[in-house]
């Protein structure tokens, strides 16, 4: 389950980030509206999966990491914590941005989400800035995460990567 959720979020992020960038670049019009609303729907899906994944950690604790230097263990914990945090903070900042822009969020046209802030152009600018900064932080931390995983696989050869394979029991 944890593995499935991990890779589902990876696939969705691979769609979500380009989708957001493309939608952002488009001129105002129907196509932008369509792309942006898909971006919002995928974002809410990621938020739901991140919540599910955090809840799952309570039922099925992740196995202990392989032996490694103390600084690496700390860095790993920090990076994982930050990645989780971003999986919440990115969709939430986008959601708040939408509400502040008076463009409420609908999940694939099926459910309309509530607005936690009233329309406010100044607030919209703030959340937009936060959203953009956070996506760049996410990209940097993902690169670090992948680099660390590859190091475990090909330099340490401790088999850490195998336990994240989908369908594999921990």
């Amino acid at each position: 389950m944890a593995q499935f959720l991990h890779w589902a979020v990876v696939v969705l992020l691979a769609i979500q980030i380009p989708l957001g960038k493309i939608a952002h670049e488009l001129p105002v019009g129907l196509e932008r509206l369509a792309m942006m609303s898909r971006h919002k729907s995928v974002g809410i899906t990621i938020l739901a999966l991140a919540l599910l994944r955090l809840a799952w950690r309570w039922f099925e604790r992740p196995p202990a990491p392989p032996p490694m230097p103390r600084w690496q263990a700390i860095a790993s914990r920090l990076n994982h914590g930050a990645l989780y945090l971003l999986l919440f903070a990115l969709p939430l900042s986008g959601w708040l941005m939408s509400s502040a822009a008076a463009r409420p969020v609908s999940w694939f046209g099926l459910v309309q989400l509530p607005d936690f802030v009233a329309p406010d152009p100044g607030l919209k600018e703030v959340f937009e800035e936060v959203h953009e900064v956070l996506v760049n932080v996410l990209l940097a931390l993902v690169i670090l995460h992948v680099a660390a995983a590859l190091k475990h696989q090909f330099i340490d050869r401790d088999g850490l990567l195998f336990r994240m394979l989908p369908g594999r029991r921990t």
């Binding site: 105002v28 019009g29 129907l30 196509e31 509206l33 369509a34 942006m36 609303s37 919002k40 822009a101 008076a102 463009r103 409420p104 969020v105 609908s106 999940w107 694939f108 046209g109 099926l110 309309q112 989400l113 329309p119 152009p121």
Partner: protein
């Protein structure tokens, strides 16, 4: 009309019609709710004028007239407002006003139904408006709604004629504080 004229002559020679109630922009709210990308959003018209002449004993002889300055629309999203004022939607430079007129009323439950005609962008369509009217001290509260199809008025052209991302149905609702016309 003859009745109104006779009444005016007999009682208040200066006024055209003594029973007319009216509300301007500061006298309430005129809102619309539409669906964009599956989510409802609300906008309002900030400049409008409404006149109601409704004698419950003679509902066939009354009238409801509402004139809306379309460019005063505000959906709290400047980008969307600009598109709505533009050529694909209201084209407010050529069609600055939307006008509703009903010449009679029917009872509808506790309130009224005004089977009138609405003109937007040069297109006139029958649109029934339902409302309640509660008389108070010095002013009457008129609260009601109407449902219309934006495409019936040619609102949304070109790519915007599609209802995939912008719904066809638009709900109009209003709450007016009507006062006797001067």
């Amino acid at each position: 009309m003859l009745r109104a004229f006779a009444l005016a002559l007999a009682i208040v020679p200066a006024a055209a019609h003594a029973d007319v109630l009216q509300a301007g922009p500061s006298g309430g709210r005129l809102e619309f709710v539409a669906l964009q990308a599956g989510a409802k959003f609300t906008g309002e018209f900030r400049r409008f004028h409404a006149e109601l002449d409704l004698d419950p004993r003679r509902p066939d002889e009354g009238r409801l007239d509402v004139t809306v300055e379309v460019a005063s629309l505000d959906t709290r999203d400047p980008e969307r407002d600009e598109i709505l004022r533009g050529p694909d939607f209201f084209q407010t430079d050529e069609h600055p006003q939307a006008v509703f007129h009903a010449g009679r009323f029917e009872r509808a439950g506790e309130g009224w139904r005004a089977p009138g005609e609405l003109s937007i962008r040069g297109i006139t369509q029958p649109v029934p408006v339902t409302f309640t009217l509660v008389a108070g001290a010095g002013q009457s509260i008129m609260k009601g709604s109407a449902r219309l199809s934006r495409l019936a008025f040619g609102i949304g052209r070109g790519e915007w004629a599609s209802t995939e991302w912008v719904g066809d149905e638009v709900d109009v609702r209003f709450e007016l504080r009507l006062q006797p016309a001067g």
